[in-house]
Symmetry: C2
Subunit: 389 residues, 2 copies
């Protein structure tokens, strides 16, 4: 026997953090309780009933009637890949509107499915105008336009007015990333004419990470049905998954039943609160944060009309070691805020107020720490502060 | 607002089942408690330490020194697909030894990655001899031999003697499905010369479904490194995942942190018990089940030397409505046993004794129910028994 890797470990003892970064966010306590229930079989009639409830409440959260609305058995990135894997055939032209990190990820993924990918770009922190999208559609005539609604890397919320109509005029599918908007920021999939969307469990839905909500409308279903070959990804193949989630209940993979217990509870809480109320709560707590940050003299990356209520990007002030301050918040106060990603690495903090964590007391707690403890991290004083921590 | 899908639900109230089917199996209570801990960030130093612990204990469970040993953020099927997606290049010849449902799944998946797939087959319920594998290797000269160690659809355990040497002689990678053996049935990956393996969380490891342990040895790593193009699956791309699990800690996707809390606890319990003890426990409880079933006059599908201690296939006796009896066990006693899959649909029950559930009292409980309640389900009496239930 090889006992070299037989670590003698103590029982798990992770700390209770307050997660005010780009996600995961804290889960609601009753969601955590649901996760810890005894598993049941993935073909148990009681589980099958629960699957239907999860589907129905995801439709509510997204404001869609799409039949094919399911949580993928992976994180948001798996659901993202599912939208592309099922609908791209080799050589299809895909237009990706890139205004941050997750736009770049869509490009990488689409290329792996052998799409001919073309891009338009805006600087990180900005959004696209309808005119820009219109010009690119007319030029490239893509089969799919992929767009990020809530760009988690920048905190920008893309205005959606007119984009669905534009895609219909060009007989093009509209694919939308709603990872950081679902359940927290107004999303009206059907009214917007969105054909494919995905999200995650760990942000607006107040559930731990591990499931990737996915939805596909009739136009996207038709493209899937007309494929000449199999979907080049077995695990995410919606034509197979539909045999399990549809009335046939044909075994595909063993569902992550406990994560779905949590998802069902998270969606139940959202339906109980009501979408309009959840959206208004996120908006009002974000505004409380924004005005507090500005009062402290901190600068926000994104102009007010484009700001995402779930994620705020704050410029790290001149002379401050942003990483040292966020480590201080984590280690001294158990609070996580995020750093910048990609083009914004080192220049911003990302503050999330998502789902269960979107509460006035969390805003006030963080503003108070910024007011009282950030000054010690100004240039020249950083070393002392870190040593003291 | 569209409130058509706003289901008013009661809080979740799933029953406590005893899961004696092909999986999921019951999770250990402390694993469920770990699942319900407050999430922490996927780049939190405490989470990064936990990742290392999970990797190390997976190496112990598999008896391997493989550096690239990680839980995939999906179920066992995702880890299965990862072994193929990362190592197949279009046109590569892959030999799949098919002796049940999961061999067929390997064929389907490998074809999607544009392998030239060839198969050898044995009837469901049998295993391959080394001579058969040797002849097929000499004939086809594949780059990968894919084999199921523990075939969950039949209950057969494939003898592994000599197969690793054979693959090395032919400069071929050996890919092994250990979904129903890891943690419960002797597995010695390195001693057997296995290059790629995958498993699941919900069987021998006593954790709910949702993670797919994956491991890749140096020969498989070399094939991945020599690829001419990107892995055609972003989510399962080990070259990217290695940037996160390796020392660089580059963000790939938001890890399912709570599932990994559970996995860490499950593996901790396994290391505490010790592999040899866990293997012996599964063996002894399975033997108790086998002799009890035979005492009741029930016939086992698989000859004794090939039987899997984790999963026993029992022929449904002539004249018994197998589905009605398993529904009776579920609805009346809260016990799940599985039905047959594929070629064995309708002709066998599948009884699992896995991880936390491999205990003498579970064996005795089930044997007692078979003895006292199965006779009522013999031909002609079924309708009455079902009506009474």
């Amino acid at each position: 026997m090889n006992d070299r890797h037989r670590l003698p470990l103590e029982p798990i003892a992770t700390p209770d953090r307050l997660l005010l970064g780009p996600g995961p966010s804290n889960a609601h306590p009753t969601v955590l309780a649901a996760l810890a229930r005894t598993p049941i079989g993935h073909l148990d009639p009681i589980y099958i009933e629960l699957m239907g409830e999860v589907q129905e409440l995801l439709r509510y959260a997204w404001q869609t009637d799409n039949r094919l609305t399911i949580p993928m058995s992976g994180t948001g990135s798996a659901a993202m890949e599912a939208t592309l894997a099922n609908t791209i055939e080799p050589g299809d032209k895909v237009l990706v509107a890139v205004k941050g990190y997750f736009g770049l990820r869509l490009v990488d993924m689409a290329q792996r499915y052998r799409a001919e990918v073309v891009t338009i770009e805006r600087p990180w922190g900005e959004a696209f105008s309808l005119e820009e999208l219109e010009a690119a559609m007319a030029l490239h005539k893509p089969k799919i336009l992929a767009l990020v609604h809530a760009e988690t890397s920048t905190g920008v919320c893309q205005p959606m007015e007119g984009i669905g109509d534009l895609c219909r005029q060009h007989d093009c599918l509209l694919l939308l990333d709603t990872v950081t908007s679902l359940g927290a920021v107004p999303v009206h999939l059907d009214a917007w004419g969105v054909d494919l969307a995905y999200s995650c469990s760990q942000k607006g839905l107040s559930c731990p990470p591990g499931l990737g909500p996915f939805t596909m409308g009739p136009r996207a279903e038709a493209k899937l049905a007309a494929r000449s070959g199999k979907v080049p990804n077995w695990y995410l193949d919606v034509s197979l998954l539909n045999q399990y989630w549809g009335s046939n209940r044909v075994y595909h993979h063993t569902a992550p039943v406990n994560m779905n217990f949590g998802m069902r509870e998270a969606l139940r809480l959202l339906a109980e609160e009501g979408l309009e109320h959840a959206w208004a709560r996120h908006r009002s707590n974000a505004e409380r944060l924004w005005s507090g940050l500005e009062r402290l003299g901190l600068e926000l990356l994104v102009p007010q009309p484009l700001r995402l209520p779930t994620l705020t990007t704050v410029r790290i002030p001149e002379g401050v070691d942003g990483k040292a301050f966020s480590l201080h918040l984590l280690n001294r106060h158990g609070i996580e805020v995020g750093g910048g990603l990609g083009a914004l690495a080192g220049s911003v903090w990302r503050i999330g107020l998502m789902g269960y964590n979107s509460r006035a007391e969390n805003v006030d707690l963080l503003l108070n720490l910024l007011e009282t403890e950030l000054p010690a991290f100004q240039s020249g004083r950083t070393a002392v502060a870190v040593a003291a921590a």
